[in-house]
């Protein structure tokens, strides 16, 4: 928990962050970390910390809330107030935390199973409320922690430990789902575009409302091996080819090719932030 200042104040007193040193934001005493060789979650973590740094967020004011699974374990490495909660529920915990403490910057790290399967109900209602949270969904298309079972984002025909004959279930398009549910900021990026991903996360954090960012990560060791997708670089390309995204219709400002991997900012919506709206009603009711 060492305090290293990488921020510098300019002549106007405005704090601008210095060069990004990832170790300033990590609990390096926990190393070696738990992630498998080739896993994309570490890159997602780097992009997140980079974005936090460039946004000038004080670690003392930063709360990271995660659920269960590989994505859930990532938060512990961040030198902040970190909460590793129950399976599927990080958004519900974060809702309580942010409403009680609007002064905190609350960022949720979740996975495709945690967020879309067991936590699906909380996701759509978090979108509807539009509380000022940033939700990073690390989509590795499988339940890695439990041994590589099928998830709501496992591509069709892929093999997992619970789809031994190949996956016959259709895939959730998380971004389309959350845009439909009312999220005010929706974006997607691959781990292989780290600076772009960082910028996307920055935009999400800056958005005063519920921001959803899907990070296309990869599970090389389990999902990749089961499907013979090669080393991590090859696997990322294979996943890119696997990934299909339908047109978003009118909610999307940014056009993109249907039936391809849509990345970047996919939807923006201007609507009142939940906490501010609640506090305004308190004021009006007095």
């Amino acid at each position: 928990m060492t305090e290293k200042s990488s921020a510098i104040a300019d002549s106007t007193g405005q704090i601008t962050p210095g060069p990004f040193e990832i170790r300033d934001y990590l609990r390096t005493e926990l190393f070696p970390h738990f992630m498998c060789p080739g896993c994309g979650h570490g890159i997602a973590l780097r992009a997140l910390l980079w974005a936090i740094h460039e946004q000038g967020i004080d670690k003392n004011r930063l709360a990271i809330v995660s659920g269960i699974g590989c994505s859930g374990r990532v938060g512990a490495y961040i030198d902040a107030h970190t909460f590793h909660t129950t399976h599927g529920r990080p958004l519900a915990f974060a809702t309580g935390l942010k409403l009680a403490r609007p002064d905190l910057e609350v960022i949720v790290i979740t996975g495709d199973g945690d967020c879309l399967a067991i936590g699906g109900n909380h996701l759509i209602h978090a979108c509807r409320r539009n509380l000022d949270l940033t939700c990073l969904m690390l989509n590795n298309q499988t339940y890695g922690m439990t041994g590589g079972q099928v998830s709501p984002t496992t591509a069709e025909n892929r093999f997992t430990t619970t789809t031994q004959l190949g996956n016959h279930e259709p895939v959730f398009d998380a971004c389309q789902l959350v845009a439909g549910a009312g999220a005010s900021f929706v974006g997607r990026e691959m781990t292989l575009q780290t600076p772009t991903l960082k910028n996307l996360i920055r935009e999400g954090i800056a958005n005063p409302g519920f921001s959803f960012i899907e990070v296309l990560s990869d599970c090389t060791e389990i999902y990749g091996r089961k499907n013979d997708l090669g080393e991590s670089a090859e696997m990322v390309m294979a996943q890119k080819a696997d990934f299909r995204s339908e047109s978003y219709g009118t909610v999307v400002d940014t056009p993109f090719q249907p039936k391809g991997l849509a990345t970047g900012v996919l939807s923006r919506r201007s609507c009142p932030e939940y906490g501010a709206a609640y506090r305004q009603r308190l004021q009006d009711g007095k």
Binding site: M1, T2, E3, R27, L30, K59, N60, R61, A63, V65, A76, D79, A80, H81, T82, F83, H84, T85, T86, R89, L91, A92, F93, A94, T95, G96, L97, K98, L99, A100, R101, D103, L104, N121, H122, H125, Y278, R281, L282, G285
Partner: protein, 388 residues
Amino acid sequence: MNSGNQLNSGNRLQNLQGNRACVLGAVAAGCRFYAGYPITPSSEIAENMSLEMPRNGGVFVQMEDEISSMAAIIGASAGGVKVMTATSGPGFSLKQENIGFAAATEIPCVIVNVMRGGPSTGMPTRPAQSDIMQARWGTHGDHPVVVLCPWSVEEIYMQAIRAFNIAESLRVPVVLLYDEVIGHLVETVDFSALQNPQLYERKWAQGDPETFLPYANPGDGVPEMARPGTAFRTHTTGLTHAEGGFPTQDPATVERVMKRLLGKVDAHPELVEQVDEYYCDDCELLIVSFGITARSSQAALRQLQEQGIKVGLFRPVTLWPFPQQRFLAAAAGTRAVLVAEMNAGQLIQEVQRHVGRDIRVQGLQRFDGDVISPQQIVDCAKRILQDD
């Protein structure tokens, strides 16, 4: 609707519904965050909270389900606010996993369960006392929990305050458990003796953040809590964790931290234990009951005494941990113990466990959605003493 502030403005006598008293007690205890989901027969608590929280500068949020309500109050409590949720049987089942998370991470919270008939959807508008084992053992794994059982509207108010005091002092989930009858009962509450209750606050982390251990035992079994927004940046996890807050599977460490976790409630009987006793010193028959059944027992007690029968009443106000020593003292010298409860026989198992084979233990159970009447208890008491 009456304001909570009215309590301090000279209006000492008030007609209140039990669920309303629960809300006023919570507000008086300093509750400033409520998350809930509608469920009979507890919904009046959420309805009242939706006005009392904003009125007192707090937050009310109706969540999408029971699970997220429990999660949201834990999240808010982690942020440093006193929190509560309320539910009934089906919702209490859904909350269990997160109650275990609160117990393991030692995040204070109060859960109200207004008991209705079960199992499953059961009888939503009928009373029962059949969640008492669930209140103790509902979530998986060994865990600490405190359960308080009021028997009147006034006592709901008082026990709500106590629930917060215990939750905050010991960093433990506290269940305020009462039946539908008490919840919907309207009684006059005399607030003259209830002004300015003593409130206990959580111990916050102090000293050097660099060397702070969020789950170290400061001696009384209750660690200091790190407040977000300060330099005490710590990790909170439902994984079994060492004193530093990070996961461990080292057997010696796990045993040490679990012993502290499981022992901290028992280490504070002065705070936790509360019983109500009537004529327990010299009775042939001891009645054990709680909630609305204890009200019936009290009426039965008068009838039996008028007939010259020596009978006493032992009412565990703190149901869990069960007040074993106080109960054994009350039961000493009696010929028999009668356990009256609105379920198929739950508390009787705990009572039998303590008295052993020396004293006869008889149950009076009712689980048809109706209250045990004083006459039923009188008849049962006479039968026991005749048989003996």
